[in-house]
Symmetry: none
Subunit: 260 residues, 2 copies
DNA sequence: AATTAATGCTGGCTATTGAACGGAAAAATG
DNA sequence: CATTTTTCCGTTCAATAGCCAGCATTAATT
């Protein structure tokens, strides 16, 4: 049995039973408790479980049924790889802006053990998720709830963003292209992301492989405005070159499988 | 059974029964009384219970907010009665402000079949809940996420509220008293509620029976600033009189006998 | 062969629980 | 109302179970 299979089974069990016990899992899988504990460590880091003496309980904070489960399921693995890199780029005490993308939600989850973060976001989901982290300052941009999403948009949100300045903006996009730069499909989202990038010292763009070479409807900014570009695996040589030309630091997971 | 599970169950029991007895819990869980007491110690440290001789009672102190996950479960029936009345007071096409109380969440749920509402709220939960209703305009106040709750507070939220004007403000409170007026336990919440009331043509206060005659820390407004007072059952004669004196229209569930 | 991830093992450390006991609070008794 | 009895509480101590960190081993990959 693969380690990842076991981990997923434990998660399924956890969701079903609401809690698991280390000793029982050791029996069930015939491995040592240390191994089980390491699985639980990972689940905890992903924000899915909360370890406790003797076992772990389901993290109920994100168990609230969200109306929009659609995009969240897609490409989960890529998003988690990306979230791990984000975790390396963020330090305790940082002031951050996070957009309302599903990748940003994973990023926020992975940041939960950082201390004293200040997060400004237009994502209702991130608000909900970060609400129970002690010691964080969480600011909502306000604004209009965009139809069919959990993103706050509009001029109130943009205004609010413009009245702050942060260390790092962490946002995602729909397309990334050498010539067209960073693009998005929705003007409302674009305004938010643009404002966030302009309000931050460092610009960090998250883009999984499917975004590379794509051009979407509206432009957020040029490639050379970006400081970090985070993706889940090593891009082609042409992209490495393009990023170097544009002065963009490329970060990707060293551990992810190349394809399939 | 994990220790944390037992502790959570005791808390749930406490919520439900309002009090627990050490000896009964010892029976129920098959542990010694010392263990139960230690659980109760922890609950007391968290501000959720108050130990007494032989057991513990639920801490319903007026000036402390329970964690939102707990509070949500309390008094569900009253809140639903109140939500029904709210439903009668709101018309299709209304512009509303809703605060971040759990009663307001129920009110929002009961409004789901109304058409073309515009809702301004500082509640993350209402945002989440209303997101999937087609045809509504939903605006978030933005602001800081208040520790231990899903309420957005602070001057950004207040500013945002002040830049709008709506038909009806629907808010709840911690205390309502003839002389002290409408009061709340938290200044941050009070600022929001006050601003909402001032930005609305009609003021609707929701207050279940437990709030009547209570006085909490900060004042939101006087009784005579209120247009409608909604509660779950008929109050005492003295309250009927007090509302009439203050020019407040009292609305309650018609399950009791009274000429209307 | 070298690297890396996964797992197991060891030993020191911590958390949880139960038992014991003196003292405090409530209840019973006169 | 004072005294006795009972019940309950808090503290301490010990035992056990579980935890963590580091290192060794194995298996898979390059």
């Amino acid at each position: 049995m693969l380690a990842i299979e076991r981990k997923n089974e434990i998660l399924a069990l956890l969701q079903q039973e609401k809690s698991v016990i280390v000793a029982e899992l050791r029996e069930r899988y015939g491995v040592t408790e240390e191994t089980i504990r390491r699985d639980l460590d990972k689940l905890e880091k992903e924000g899915l479980a909360r370890k406790t003496y003797g076992g772990a309980v389901l993290n109920e904070s994100l168990n609230t049924d969200l109306p929009f489960k659609i995009r969240k399921r897609a490409n989960v693995e890529s998003k988690q790889y990306i979230a791990e890199i984000i975790n390396e780029l963020v330090e305790d005490g940082d002031n951050l802006m996070l957009d309302a993308s599903s990748t940003a939600v994973y990023a926020a989850k992975s940041l939960k053990h950082k201390k004293n973060l200040t997060i400004i976001t237009n994502s209702v989901e991130i608000l909900l998720d970060a609400a129970d982290v002690a010691g964080w300052r969480i600011l909502s941009t306000g604004g209009s709830l965009k139809e069919g999403s959990l993103a706050l948009v509009g001029y109130q949100a943009v205004n609010m963003i413009q009245s702050y300045h942060v260390d790092k903006a962490i946002i995602s996009c729909k397309g990334i292209d050498k010539h067209a730069g960073i693009t998005d499909s929705s003007e409302l989202d674009m305004q938010i992301k643009k404002a966030m990038l302009e309000a931050a010292n460092q610009s960090i763009i998250m883009a999984d492989r499917s975004k590379w070479g794509k051009v979407a409807f509206t432009k957020i900014c040029d490639l050379n405005h970006i400081d970090y570009l985070v993706t889940e695996s090593e891009p082609d040589a042409q992209w490495l070159q393009a990023c170097e030309d544009a002065g963009v630091t490329l970060r990707y997971s060293q551990t992810s499988m190349e394809d399939k």
